[in-house]
Symmetry: C2
């Protein structure tokens, strides 16, 4: 996993959460990991599509928005 459950819990606290259930931290962790991997894979495909071996910031921008 890219992001730990502890890091996910910490971010929720920073976003204003008074308390965070164990299941919420786990669900948040899973969601962010899945999302990040999906955007990452899309960026890799965009670089391949442009016949590049290097993923550039333009690939990230196009994948993310």
């Amino acid at each position: 996993m890219f992001i730990s459950e502890g890091a996910a819990r910490k971010l929720l606290k920073e976003a204003g959460a008074k308390r965070v259930s164990k299941e919420a931290a786990s669900e948040f962790q899973k969601h962010i990991n899945r999302y990040a991997f999906d955007v990452g894979q899309k960026a890799v495909k965009l670089a391949e599509h442009a016949k590049r071996k290097t993923v550039t910031d333009s690939d990230i921008k196009l994948a993310a928005y």
Copy 2:
């Protein structure tokens, strides 16, 4: 920052990137951090809306999809 630039670069490699530019790693890091914070804040607002002090997995699911 929730996620380091190094972690962002590592995830892009795991997603299949042969090479990753410095700017791509930085842009990816920024995007994931921003996204995670936005979802986190939305989950906190949903818990408050439901008059709860504890963020639960139902808040995360509703915020994320």
